[in-house]
Point group: C2
Chain length 122, copies 2
């Protein structure tokens, strides 16, 4: 049953909030983006080693999504064994500063949040 009122906090496909959450809201995308920013150019296996406990499948899925969105550029070297490198696109680069301010906020406040959560009795 749809509600009738529509405003900018609705979630049609053009909602900016949904749009940004679709890109960084999942479990791994933000980590991958920040890693690529830091390291610059990485092979599949290198990312896998840096991001502990990500599975090959999820790394593959995540990179595919980021590539489809134009945030990450994928370069295949036609050789055996195959070699594929990933790097941020300009668009991807442009997102990084905003992610970093978020991370900065998190670093500065995670202690407060943790404390609050411990005191919160349900």
């Amino acid at each position: 049953m749809k509600k009738e009122i529509e405003n900018k906090y609705t979630e049609p496909s053009d909602c900016p909030v949904r749009n940004v959450l679709d890109r960084i809201g999942d479990k791994w995308s933000m980590l991958v983006l920040l890693l690529l920013e830091e390291k610059g150019l990485l092979r599949f296996n290198e990312i896998d080693k840096h991001i502990v406990s990500i599975s090959q499948k999820m790394l593959s899925v995540t990179l595919k999504g980021l590539e489809a969105d134009g945030l990450v550029k994928r370069t295949i070297y036609p050789q055996v064994p195959p070699k594929v490198e990933y790097e941020l696109t300009e668009l991807g680069q442009s997102l990084i500063p905003h992610l970093n301010t978020l991370v900065g906020w998190a670093k500065a406040n995670m202690q407060k949040i943790e404390t609050s959560r411990l005191q919160y009795q349900n």
Copy 2:
């Protein structure tokens, strides 16, 4: 099977990326935070009307989480029928600017992303 290497991109509980994603990475939290920022002080039903298609359950769950994290303050007025008001805490307020830069980025680039995604042939 745990991998052995650990660095800052791992996801222990003190990872800032995980920390921030846990707060805004879900489907509704960011929308609620931005709405409370805009409107200032809202009752349960008012939030429900503004955020189209959220269910009572998810609104309840979302607000509970935000309250537990100390981002939202909940005030109960002991009367019949009950009246409960929600507003951002100082901590919640401090997060808003970073969310807005993200939203700004999304607004500015969602068209590019959309185009990229359409061209991406799997």
